[in-house]
């Protein structure tokens, strides 16, 4: 009995220490590496009435120090933040309501006001789902900058499990 307990304790301890050696997520990227500017937060799953347009709040977070253009940037050449749902997903995007952006000026040009999102923001997507379970790979397209430089436009996947009941 005693031996078994000791063996179990040592085994468990070795296992725990081994698990602790590597975190479950990737290590931080070195300075200068490409930064993931926008992260989808939640919800992972929503249940909505099948066939009935339903508003769902989708939450995102922008990395500290970065901003992305709002859905209605003030200049035509800027890329607006846009949410979409691919066709054939069993879920249709009827409309999307974006939050209002806020004014932002680059230090090198304080007179020009941009309209941007920073920090956390939510998009209200009005979805219509067919009956059933749909793993939707929705998309968010954005273009991020800091105060001195801009990163190329990017489209990230927004995975949502939509249950139409």
């Amino acid at each position: 009995m005693r031996k078994m307990l000791v063996v179990a304790a040592v085994g468990a301890a070795v296992g725990l220490v081994a698990m602790a050696q590597e975190p479950l997520w990737q290590e931080g990227k070195p300075a200068g590496a490409k930064v993931q500017a926008v992260q989808y937060l939640y919800p992972e799953q929503v249940t909505i009435a099948a066939g009935k347009p339903t508003a769902v709040q989708l939450h995102f977070r922008i990395a500290p120090g970065l901003h992305i253009n709002s859905h209605e940037p003030k200049d035509k050449f800027l890329i607006p933040t846009t949410f979409s749902v691919p066709a054939g997903a069993g879920v249709t995007l009827r409309s999307a309501v974006y939050p209002e952006g806020h004014d932002f000026a680059l230090p090198a040009d304080p007179r020009t006001r941009l309209n941007v999102f920073t920090g956390e923001f939510a998009i209200e997507a009005k979805l219509t789902a067919a009956p059933g379970d749909h793993l939707v790979q929705a998309k968010l397209r954005y273009q991020a900058c800091d105060e001195a430089q801009c990163m190329p436009p990017k489209t990230i996947t927004v995975p949502i499990d939509v249950l139409g009941k």
Binding site: V6, F77, C145, D146
Partner: protein
């Protein structure tokens, strides 16, 4: 004569207690290590972002450092807006500013008038600018419509900003040679011998750009 009294239950309890204590200690050590590594990973990630964002002393080095410094500028051949092939070698003997920019880039739009002024000011001394459009977009190679739309946007930008220097397309195809072009604008100053003498990621000031032009002209 003394009689030995066996107390198996209490002894087993003791062993069990020690075992549980050891398990708890190892679990705590494992959790502490895991938490420490998590914090380190978060700090490193934050440092990556801050290095891109804060113009502190060390961040400045990140903005201006490049493995290309002191080396020959990598050659390229790209099309201009008229479809003519232009190569870096065509500008042998000139001091150059190779300015990678994009139509969606606010800081690029801001620095373009400075570049136009400086180009006009120093052209007679043997200075030229090569503006290289690098949209960095996730267009598929087969998306002819997307590329045509891009070209139209570049033409509109060039016309609006009255850019008097060659503007070349598809800078993304030479991005790896120039360090990846993770952000726009990214600029390289090249001296008359073809060597990179300065680089800059992000916008600084017209004066700073002028200083680097003078360095390229030395």
């Amino acid at each position: 004569m003394r009689r030995e009294v066996r107390i198996p239950v209490r002894r087993n309890t003791l062993v069990l207690g020690v075992t549980l204590f050891l398990l708890a200690a190892f679990a705590w050590a494992g959790w502490a290590n895991w938490e420490y590594r998590k914090q380190q990973a978060e700090k490193a990630a934050a440092a990556g972002v801050h290095a891109m964002l804060e113009k502190g002393e060390s961040a400045d080095a990140l903005y201006t450092s490049s493995p290309l410094l002191g080396k020959p500028a990598p050659d390229f051949k790209l099309e201009d807006l008229a479809g003519k092939k232009v190569s870096l070698a065509d500008y042998k003997g000139k001091a150059l500013l190779i300015n990678f920019w994009a139509t969606w880039c606010g800081p690029c739009k801001l620095e373009t008038p400075w570049i136009v002024d400086l180009r006009n000011q120093y052209a007679a001394k043997g200075f030229e600018v090569l503006g290289i459009d690098s949209e960095g977009d996730d267009l598929k190679a087969s998306d002819a419509e997307g590329f045509a739309r891009q070209k139209t946007a570049v033409q509109r930008f060039v016309s609006k900003e009255k850019m008097p220097y060659p503007v070349l397309l598809n800078g993304d195809s030479i991005a790896n040679r120039y360090g990846g072009l993770d952000a726009m604008p990214t600029s390289f100053w090249v001296d008359r011998t073809g060597k990179v003498v300065a680089s800059q990621m992000g916008i600084t000031s017209k004066d700073d750009m002028e200083e680097k032009i003078k360095k390229a002209l030395e």
